[in-house]
Amino acid sequence: MAQVSSIADEQTSTPLSSSKSITLKIARYNPEHDESSKFMEFSIPYEKWTTVLEAILEVKKHFDHSVAVRYSCRQATCGSCGMIINGKPRLACFTKISELNSDIVTVEPMNNFPIIRDLAVKFERLFDSHQKIKPYLIRDDSELEADAKEFLQSPQELEQYIQFANCIKCGLCNSACPTMATDSSFVGPQALAQAYRYVADSRDKGKDSRLKIIDDSHGIWRCHFAGSCSQVCPKGVDPAMGIQLLRGYLLGFRS
């Protein structure tokens, strides 16, 4: 464990010179060498606008460059920096330290994902499940053959699914899902929400094939409606509602 009281006077991309500071506890774990994860603590100054990702990058820049973290856009668009922050799945770039109201900020890798190292996790299962539900418009005809170049929708038809199109595949919903923790074959709230996104799309004709895929022994019926997926989504998607609406299709209440 490394305990450091202040950062060095080096130039950073986001200078942190505030008198306020927090203790950042980072879970360190390398599956190839370690038997269990350990926490390393760093004292990091922060401003009102400092995000958890910026604090982690401060650690990488000044204290320990070997901390493994995945990030890219820094604006909650790419969905790369999902992690457990103070016990809750969040995007590190979208979580300001000041809003956590805590002197200690603990960051851990997302639950229900195999750990590559430290805060970086494998996304294969999420992407496989996402791919499994055919996340694209299925049609018999083709816009290339028709005179019309686009499939028109009314605002009401768009409203049916538009919030589900905001999914950035960050995996926070799968990380929060209690069923994902016990059922390694469960398709997961992310893929189910995306299944609804395409089933509810008036342009799509692949409803039956998608419903057949999710009507599986480890499919939609394994959801216990804990609703934690919807609570943690940083983009305002409501996977729990999507799952309930999909069940409506399967039970014949919706068509």
Partner: protein
């Protein structure tokens, strides 16, 4: 899973009738040996008991199967759980039906 929901809804309705039948006479009186035997010998009521037995067995063992499948995964394990629950369900229905039929025919 439609089977699970369907059996649950049907069982709720039939069990409600079953409990309400206790109220047509005094509750303690309805559970006396002769009265219970009389219930079994009344064919429509015995048929309803048989139906409740089947519905609850399907619902219960399917629920158990789902819980067990969620605890652990694997092709062999899942097959064992599914067939095990199916066998247990058939066994329970057979044993319960035997009781209903024997009582109905006055063999008890």
């Amino acid at each position: 899973m439609k089977v699970h929901y369907g059996t649950a809804l049907a069982a709720v309705a039939l069990v409600a009738v079953h409990i309400l039948m206790r109220l047509t006479q005094g509750f303690a009186e309805s559970l006396e040996f002769e009265n219970v035997l009389a219930n079994y010998k009344f064919i429509p009521y015995a048929a309803m008991l048989e139906l409740i037995l089947i519905l609850l067995s399907i619902h219960g063992f399917n629920g158990l199967r789902v819980i067990l499948l969620e605890l652990k995964q694997g092709r062999t394990y899942e097959k064992a759980v599914s067939y095990g629950c199916l066998a247990a369900m058939i066994g329970l229905i057979a044993y319960g039906s035997r009781t209903i039929i024997m009582t109905n025919m006055g063999m008890v």
